[in-house]
Amino acid sequence: MVERRPVMTLVAHLVLIFGVLLVSFPLYVTLVASTQTSEQIVQQAPMSLLPGSNLIDTYRAALFGGQTASGSRISPVAPMLKVSFICAMVIALGKISISMLSAFAFVYFRFPGRTLCFWMVFITLMLPVEVRIGSTYRVVAGLGLLNTYAGLTVPLIASATATFLFRQFFLTVPDELTEASRIDGAGPIRFFIDVLLPLSATSIAALFVIQFIYGWNQYLWPLLFTTDESKYPIVMGIRRMLGGGDAGNEWNVVMATAILAMLPPALVVLLMQKWFVKGLVDAEK
């Protein structure tokens, strides 16, 4: 479509630019705040919107901990990043493998109660962690998994959404492909590994992005579940830094932590985006 309406183009751009500014301003404030010292932030109200010179010191304090000017302790963020990263990875990969396998069973095998099982999985969509948190806690605590990685991740791994997505994808794979591989002598597992897995690359990439962020942003479950500081994920860490009133907080460190917490998911999105666009172009059924 050829359109030559300069005024409309201008208006459209203004609206879009306004939207971008609106969304990115808080991010900018966070970034700027993390480059100043806590005194600079608190003493000048409103705070300066120009970057300060304290960037390296702030991030060092945030990552590895240290003492504030007033003498209170800053707990290091690096271990929290590690916990968050491990949890997000385990949750994303676990969700993908479990739901791929269960979708494989639902689509390619005929077993008694198949429809019933599928609907039971589907119904769990109505029961997210927040709803079943009490009972899940009891079960996991009963298994002695408090303050462990297993306890942080396993209850979050089962995923009806991902199962459903993979099921829908497998249904679009032509039956002839299955039959051709049967004639070629591939058993179910070989077919899964050699044919379905490579064909699903795009869906896997997309789901990985979504589930990694889901895992990274978990707050309520770790909050209830972990009492050991070594197992705190970073999202909880930010919350714990906010103590009493304005003056009591090391705002620059809090902001630096927030930036650090945002980076890995942003990186995952950026890196995987490239990857799954490539997958979209190449994949042909």
């Binding site: 039959e179 070629d184 190449d282 994949a283």
Partner: protein, 354 residues
């Protein structure tokens, strides 16, 4: 290579408590190295039969044997067959080489031998230049060759083709048809080829199996099937345009229908109701013959099809395009040689032998 025998094969599909029988006891013997085409309208059970030979569908009743081995309960991979699918079913993420090699890899054929076999098949099919490409980068005709290549490298006892030419355009189809024939002459592998296209059936087959509604109507060479169709179904299915069929009342040496009466120099096989069949090319325009009302004339280049009504029954005549064309509405006479008539029983629909 091996013979293939299909004995009283039955196929039922279950939908809840209802049993739907799609193949009602079919038997056929295919000799070693023979090229057999199964032809029939859609839904006649021809693909199901092929898939039962392949092992993709369970056999409800009867037996299928490849060589001397009954294969009813044997997995497809162990039946020593190879199949070419209508949509080719190539693995989209594998290169052409890997597509062809996949079955051999699973069968744990040594690497060097796989390479030799794939290259040999590729050179037969002239696809050596594409071995590194993905199926998505190939044209329909090239994909079709890769699908055939995948079948050839397996060096099977029996080739199964499930309408492999349907997705090609008309020119490519004619060309591929010839190549399949050459390939069969070269490799001599027993082949079963399913199609709904009677031209493919006539040109490819050493023998044709005509199927209808889950039953075999006739098995014979293309010539036999054309010259002496066993039933009205075969008569109407084979030939383009098909044989003209009409119910007539016979009496000694004359025929009557819808108030018209014709005398016949030969004899009518029996008195009473009969179905008379005439191939469109066996009727000649002749003013002294049976009168036909012309409705439509089609020019096909070398020949002309004249659609009309003979004693109120639709009738098609094929004539040489160089002869003068009648116009619509005109009445023309038809001269039909009595020995070219086919006779069928109206109740059983079977051929009445002359």
């Amino acid at each position: 290579m091996a013979s293939l025998s299909i004995r009283d094969v039955v196929k039922d599909y279950r939908a809840g408590l209802r049993v739907n029988r799609v193949i009602h006891g079919v038997s056929a013997e295919v000799a070693d190295g023979e090229f057999i085409v199964i032809v029939g309208p859609s839904g006649c059970g021809k693909s199901t039969l092929l898939r039962m030979v392949a092992g993709l569908e369970e056999i409800t009743g009867g037996q299928i044997a490849i060589g001397q081995r009954v294969v009813n309960d044997i997995e497809p991979a162990e039946r020593d067959i190879a199949m070419v699918f209508q949509n080719y079913a190539l693995y989209p993420h594998m290169s052409v080489f890997d597509n062809m090699a996949y079955g051999l890899k699973i069968a744990r054929v040594p690497r060097d031998e796989i390479a030799v076999r794939v290259r040999r098949a590729a050179s037969i099919l002239e696809i050596e230049a594409f071995l590194d490409r993905k199926p998505g980068q190939l044209s329909g005709g090239q994909r079709q060759r890769v699908a055939m290549g995948r079948a050839i490298v397996r060096e099977p006892q029996v080739f199964l083709f499930d309408e492999p030419l349907s997705n090609l355009d008309a020119r490519l189809r004619a060309q591929t048809r010839i190549e399949i024939r050459k390939l069969h002459a070269e490799l001599g592998v027993t082949s079963l080829f399913v199609t709904h296209d009677q031209v493919e059936a006539m040109t490819l087959a050493q023998r044709v199996i005509v199927m209808n509604a889950g039953l075999i109507e006739q098995i014979g060479t293309p010539e036999e099937i054309y010259r002496a169709p066993e039933s009205t179904f075969v008569a109407g299915f084979i030939g383009a345009p098909p044989m003209n069929l009409m119910t007539v009342r016979g009496d000694g040496s004359s025929l009557s229908r819808a108030g018209c009466e014709w005398s016949l120099s030969g004899s009518v096989p029996r008195a009473g109701d009969l179905i008379m069949g005439v191939r469109p090319e066996h009727a000649r325009l002749d003013d002294r013959g049976w009168p036909m009302q012309v409705e439509l004339v089609e020019l096909l280049g070398a020949e002309r099809l004249i659609h009309g009504r003979l004693a109120d029954a639709p009738f098609i005549v094929r004539t040489d395009a160089r002869l003068a064309a009648p116009s619509a509405g005109q009445i023309v006479g038809l001269d039909i040689a009595p020995e070219s008539l086919h006779w069928f029983d109206p109740t059983s629909q079977k051929r009445i032998p002359a």
